[in-house]
C-alpha cells in the first residue's frame, strides 16, 4: 500500500455535523482563562479547532478602549459558539441566548442552566425549559448536561441539536468519571453527543473519543496547562487518535492471557 492509501484508509471519517452544519474538527475549544490573547490564539491554532466558545458579558465602560475578543479571533476561520455560562435560571439563559444571536454570527447556542455554584452541575428542569423555548425560536441548542441518560433523552425530545454530557465537573480536570454513562448516552441518542467539561489530559480526551462520542469541548485543560500551545497539539492528536481507535474497533478484553506468539514449534526441551 502506498502512504496515501494508508492515509486514506486510516483517516476517512464523516465530519462532525450539528444542526445540518459540518465542522472540520471534533475538538471544540473554549476561549476563557488563557494567560493572554496571544497564547489563546496560538493554542486555538495548535488545536486545529473550528468551533470556539465565547461568553456574553457586560462591556466594562471604563475600559472601552481595550481590544475586544473579536479583535483576536479570526471570525472567518472560527465558528463562534456563544454560551449562557453563569445563568442559573431558564429565563436568564434565554435572555443571554437572544443577545448572543443578535451579535449576528449564527443561531447556535451552548446552553448552560446551572443548579449549583460549587459543582456547576446543571439545573435539569431549567435546562429542559430553556431548550424548549430556544429550539422553538430556531436556535440550534447544544445543551450542557450531566451524564444521566434520561436527561439526555429528554433534551433530545425538547429539541436540542446536540447533547453535551460532562465527563466531570467544569474546570476539575478529573477526566471521564463514568465511561459507561457516556457510552450509553451515545448509543441511545440520535443527535450528536459532544462531551463538555472535565477533560484534563490528552489521555482523558482519547479515552472519551473511544466511547464513540462525536466530539469534545474543553477549555481549562488547555488554558491551565503549563504550556497551553503544546497541550493544544497533544489534544488535537488525542482526539484524532481516540476517534480512529473507536472507528477501528478495539480488541475484546479477556480475563485470561492469550499468547501473541505461536504455541507450536517450540524446541524440544534439553533432556540432560
Amino acid at each position: 500500500m502506498t502512504a496515501t492509501t494508508i492515509t486514506a484508509r486510516t483517516q476517512t471519517d464523516q465530519p462532525l455535523t450539528v444542526a445540518g452544519r459540518r465542522f472540520r474538527s471534533r475538538l471544540l475549544v473554549g476561549t476563557g482563562k488563557y494567560p493572554d490573547a496571544a497564547t489563546m490564539v496560538a493554542t486555538l491554532d495548535a488545536c486545529g479547532a473550528e468551533v470556539v466558545t465565547v461568553a456574553v458579558r457586560r462591556v466594562d465602560l471604563d475600559r472601552s478602549k481595550e481590544e475586544s475578543l473579536l479583535h483576536h479571533l479570526d471570525t472567518e476561520r472560527f465558528f463562534l459558539l456563544a454560551n449562557t455560562a453563569g445563568c442559573y435560571r431558564a429565563d436568564e439563559a434565554v435572555r443571554y441566548a437572544r443577545l448572543a444571536r443578535e451579535a449576528g454570527f449564527n443561531e447556535f447556542i451552548k446552553l448552560e442552566v446551572i443548579g449549583d455554584q460549587d459543582t456547576l452541575l446543571p439545573d435539569v428542569a431549567g435546562l429542559l425549559e430553556a431548550t424548549k423555548v430556544l429550539a422553538a425560536e430556531g436556535f440550534a441548542v447544544m445543551a450542557y448536561t450531566n451524564d444521566d441518560l434520561i436527561t439526555a433523552l429528554r433534551l433530545e425530545d425538547a429539541g436540542a441539536a446536540a447533547v453535551m454530557p460532562l465527563a466531570s465537573p467544569i474546570g476539575s480536570g478529573l477526566g471521564l468519571l463514568n465511561p459507561y454513562s457516556i457510552r450509553t448516552i451515545k448509543q441511545r441518542l440520535t443527535v450528536p453527543v459532544i462531551v463538555d467539561a472535565g477533560v484534563g489530559s490528552a489521555a482523558d480526551a482519547c479515552l472519551t473519543m473511544e466511547q464513540g462520542v462525536d466530539g469534545i469541548l474543553m477549555n481549562t485543560a488547555l488554558a491551565a496547562a503549563t504550556d497551553p500551545v503544546r497541550m493544544g497539539w497533544a489534544m488535537r492528536h488525542a482526539v484524532e487518535a481516540g476517534r480512529a481507535s473507536y472507528l477501528a474497533g478495539r480488541m475484546p478484553k479477556r480475563e485470561v492471557a492469550v499468547p501473541s506468539s505461536p504455541v507450536t514449534g517450540m524446541l524440544r526441551p534439553r533432556s540432560d
Binding site: 476561549t31 476563557g32 482563562k33 488563557y34 466558545t53 456574553v56 475586544s68 443577545l99 481549562t220
Partner: protein
Amino acid sequence: MTSCPGWYLSPMQTVDDPAGELTLQINGEARRVPAPASVQALLAYLGLDARAVVVEVNQEIIRRPRLADTPLADGDSIEIVHFVGGG
C-alpha cells in the same frame, strides 16, 4: 395637612435640564450623559464599536438596523454586552 401653617404641597416639578442631559442606567450604573439622539449616538459617546456589542433598552434587544433610530429617554435602563472569553 393644610392645617399646618406654612406647609405647602407643591406639585412635582419636571424641569428639562438646560444642558440637555439624560440620566440613564447603563450596565447597572446611573450615568448622566449629554442627551444622545439615539442608541447609536450613545454608543459613539461611550467609545464603543456598534458592531462589537449588543444593546438592550428596558430589557428589549435593539436590533442592529434600528440602533440609529431608537431614541432614549430619561431613566431608560440600558445593557450593553459583548463576547468575552469563556468555556
